[in-house]
């Protein structure tokens, strides 16, 4: 029996070594952040941005927790942040529902909450202070404005829609249509879902190019870069020149898309920025200083086309 006890002690001691002893510094702003997981490159870039920014700022003490894409883990983490006594809680919710109780608990404990990148669905106001994240509708609007400015008042558009029912797909379509509504010369002649993936984007574009309207397509609007990159392949295989015969515009701003624009195979990408750690901690510092912050803070995002993409920009891209 002593042997068992020794084994257990060894495991426990290992845990102690791994976790170490953390001493809280009261002058620092303690921030608890719960991330969704590490499911995509975009998400990993977001995590790195948060951790990197926290390490840079000397007044921030970050407690970071990965929910491993499970809501139950995320709720436990938020509750533990409350018990630990952090100054500000921030999280990227795994799903929109189910956070009401734990947010109420944070409110009772007087800990402000900042939503990061995704919204929650709650029945009463005041459960969170601010929501920082991309405005998908605005991204759609920006894409449409770029078409108006660079292609003109007359264009036949083929649209590669994202995953059916997902917020970015719904909102990006909404934003794009909102702008072209007042410009009857711009028409969406084809629209189908490419599920946000490269393979599906290519497949759908192939079917577009085989349809009777194939020769009328002047502009391709893809809801994300991956689908656009797939479509570029399909266009090349059909013997056309992507970026010239068909103008290509998409959303996200990943490195490979920048490279495609630099090579002249695509024309524009509207940024959906995961690197908003700096913005988050700016808001956290303001809240801690007692200043009021807007309830909705859009991420700082740019529009990139051949005019502002250079080799240096591509090289400096982290994701």
């Amino acid at each position: 029996m002593n042997k068992f006890a020794t084994v257990i002690m060894a495991v426990a001691a290992a845990t102690l070594l791994v976790t170490g002893c953390s001493k809280s510094d009261s002058s620092k702003i303690k921030v608890g952040f719960s991330q969704v997981g590490a499911e995509s490159d975009w998400r990993k870039a977001s995590t790195e941005s948060i951790k990197g920014e926290a390490a840079k700022r000397e007044n921030i003490e970050l407690t970071f927790s990965d929910a491993q894409q499970k809501q139950e883990n995320q709720i436990k983490a938020i509750r533990n942040f409350i018990s630990k006594g952090v100054d500000v809680i921030s999280f990227s919710p795994v799903v929109a529902t189910g956070f009401e109780d734990v947010l109420k608990e944070a409110k009772e404990a007087g800990i402000p909450v900042v939503l990061f990148d995704r919204a929650v669905d709650v029945s009463e106001d005041g459960l969170y202070v601010s929501f920082i994240g991309s405005d998908f509708v605005e991204e759609g609007r920006r894409a449409a404005r770029w078409v108006l400015e660079n292609v003109g008042e007359n264009a036949n558009v083929a649209e590669l829609v994202g995953t059916v029912g997902s917020a970015p797909a719904i909102d990006r379509k909404k934003g794009f249509e909102e702008i072209i509504k007042d410009h009857p010369g711009i028409k969406i002649i084809k629209s189908q879902s490419g599920d946000f993936t490269r393979a599906k984007g290519k497949e759908v574009m192939e079917s577009f190019l085989k349809s009777p309207e194939a020769d009328q397509i002047q502009v391709l609007f893809a809801h994300n870069d991956d689908m656009a990159l797939g479509a570029i392949q399909a266009i090349e295989e059909a013997g056309k020149k992507p970026g010239k015969d068909i103008i290509i515009i998409s959303i996200d701003g990943v490195k490979t898309m920048f490279e495609a624009i630099l090579a002249g195979k695509a024309n524009c990408t509207v940024e959906c920025n995961p690197l908003i750690g700096a913005q988050l901690f700016d808001v956290v510092e303001k809240i801690h200083a007692g200043e009021t912050v807007p309830a909705r803070i859009p991420s700082q995002e740019g529009v990139f086309d051949s005019k502002n993409i250079t080799q240096e920009v591509v090289d400096g891209r982290k994701y």
Binding site: T19, S22, A96, T97, E105, G165
Partner: protein, 328 residues
Amino acid sequence: MKTFKFPMRYVPISATILVFFIVYLIGIISFQNFGSPKVFLDLFVDNAYLGIAAIGTALVILTGGIDLSVGSIIAFTSILIAKMIASGCNALWAIALALVIGILFGMLQGWLIHCFSLPPFLVTLAGMFFIRGCGFIVSEESIGIKNDPVFNFIQNDLTIKLGKGMNLRFIVIVYLVVLIMAIFFSQRTRAGRSIYAIGDNELAATLMGIPVGRTKIMTYTIAGFCSALAGVVYAVYLKAGNPLNCVGLEMDAIAAVVIGGTLLTGGVGYVFGSLFGVLVLGLIQTLIVFDGRINSWWTRIIVGLLVLAFIFMQNLITKISKSKSKTQ
């Protein structure tokens, strides 16, 4: 003989309790506020559903079986309740229906396992896929339970306030009551002792005249009920249903039961141990969140090591008891 065997039975559960206190102590030494009563209370609030599921799993494992459908049943019942309430149904009816479905589903699994002598692993694996799929038929998206009088009553009126930020939630009381009932059932009733006898040696149990089939079907029925009740508790806990939730939760329940000192081959262990198994799992998770610098996946690594350590320990105990009974 008896003097040797008696303490041996209590070794695994004592080890579990020891591990719990060691982990707790590590937390208190390492982190501010870790020792606050709120952290301890939250362990129960956040793990009540897992605890209830683990009770069913413990009983099934005691018979020498396994139940893989736990997480799927939780997800199914929670989304069913949320969907029914959203369509205007009374919450009490929704909860009652969810529990009945859980009971019937458990009974069906037990019946298949017994009557066709099918391996529990495969039957409950099929059940896991089946009921997970049913959850997505009910709704593909998560549904919130908003402004429901029954849920608000449970949330507001049945919660005992113990001080600032400390709430003894109704779901914790439900868990503790079910736990006590299960402990009594497994230790003090004929049916409960039959479970141990079957897990120890099914053939011997049959020869002794124990109703093996009836007991097995009953055990899986109880497990189905526990899973469904865990689903109800989960719906109350989240005030929402989501068909995607609790994927792989049965593995956590099994880990809690093993860490709680129950032998995976059946016949040895205590339902009471699952409480400490669940608490140890919760505590490790809390410890890693409190640290906040190391990767959250360390939770899994430590749980894996713990399960392995307990399996080794039980293996050793079984060997020792066997060699002792041989020499005598």
